[in-house]
Symmetry: C2
Subunit: 209 residues, 2 copies
DNA sequence: ACTCTAACTGAATGGCGGGTTAGTTATCAT
DNA sequence: ATGATAACTAACCCGCCATTCAGTTAGAGT
């Protein structure tokens, strides 16, 4: 497929382009940030001319929007799936959710994208709103319901579930920021999974009945 | 002082200018973000011509640097003071530290500045490095030592203090992000002090012996 | 009143990079 | 093999804004 001789002139592969462009954009946004990434950089990495990108995406923001939508959708689906089809006690479910998140933070570009969302949300509220509506305002209630279930079953104390969920996921946010902001400045590496393990342990004791 | 008739031409008040310029910059950076704030905006709000700013600050980045230095210094001094001159049990000290942080988050521009640091740290590592060196890498060890003291005295379990401290402050980071990123998009307001109260309560139970 | 200088201003300058335009070429249908 | 057309490119354009420069003026000292 890709091993036939490279011609001197361009190839036409309209079906493959959008995905290739997004992949290039994701790498570059993660490496250099959104603003510092030039459309020309994306084009070069995707093996295209700059103008060709505009055949597939309206403008630079549309690239980011597509990336956020893609990643938000994928992650939330999994997390929601874990939580919804589970029937046993709440404690191991919380563990599982947090360890899943920790794994995602370590192994995907999610932290970089999150940082970009934070950075760009004022200038481009659509991005922030999309993330908020598709991830935050869907994810938090799902986790809340787990806490509520634990309270109802007597596993947990009668805490405010909305606050509890934020206490629960906050260290994952901190880990994402640590990784994308402070590690590049020379801070010691954070072992996200070990951190999550200790955190979820303390968190569960903290809300145990 | 300010109620004498406004003259048509400019005033010369070289001693007052730097502070006025910084105040204007802080307001605008918090309102519109660093990149979106034009030097002309700062100048107008400070009641000066754009060029005059350059008599007092080398460039736009120097404004941000001065703001970060100022706020970082002030806050850390207080927090460190609380922790260092305290002798009693660790539990109420943790409470006091977190409630102090919560109060600062609610009543100052700290969250906005934090968001700017996160956003700009890749393009301008000096800013991120300054914050990391002056706040993070000084603040965390101080809090760690409180945890360590609690472990030594038998108040707390034998947790990893470095992780514990991060679990402890993470909700304050989340609160800052919530306030600066999601509330402007229409998210419900987060009652930071109530959140901190429940969090510190759970956190302490979570690491209690 | 006159001078001198530091404080201040209005008006350029420069370069950067997103987006566009006017063509060029690959590929398919006939 | 020959248009027709979609895919693609090179070169351009243009607005934006940080920074600078060449003056102008406030106001202290005499």
């Amino acid at each position: 497929m890709t091993d036939r001789p490279v011609t001197k002139t361009h190839q036409r592969r309209p079906e493959a382009r959008p995905a290739e462009i997004l992949a290039a954009a994701l790498e570059l946004f993660a490496e250099k940030g959104f603003t510092a990434t030039r459309m020309q950089d994306v084009a070069s990495r995707a093996g295209l001319s700059k103008a060709a990108i505009y055949l597939y995406y309206k403008d630079k923001m549309a690239l980011l929007q597509a990336l956020v939508q893609e990643m938000a959708g994928a992650n939330l689906t999994v997390a929601a799936g874990i939580a919804e089809h589970y029937q046993g006690p709440a404690r191991p479910l919380l563990r599982q959710i947090l360890m899943f998140m920790a794994g995602q933070l370590r192994s995907t570009r999610f932290p970089d994208l999150l940082k970009i969302i934070i950075s760009e949300s004022r200038a481009h509220p659509e991005i922030g709103r999309m993330y908020f509506e598709n991830v935050i305002s869907k994810g938090l209630p799902i986790f809340e319901s787990v806490i509520r279930r634990g309270i109802a079953s007597g596993e947990f104390r009668n805490v405010d579930p909305a606050f509890a969920v934020k206490s629960m996921v906050a260290p994952m946010l901190l880990a994402a920021i640590w990784k994308t902001v402070f590690e590049p400045l020379g801070a010691e590496q954070l072992d996200i999974e070990a951190f999550a393990t200790q955190h979820v342990d303390g968190f569960i004791r903290g809300i145990a009945a």
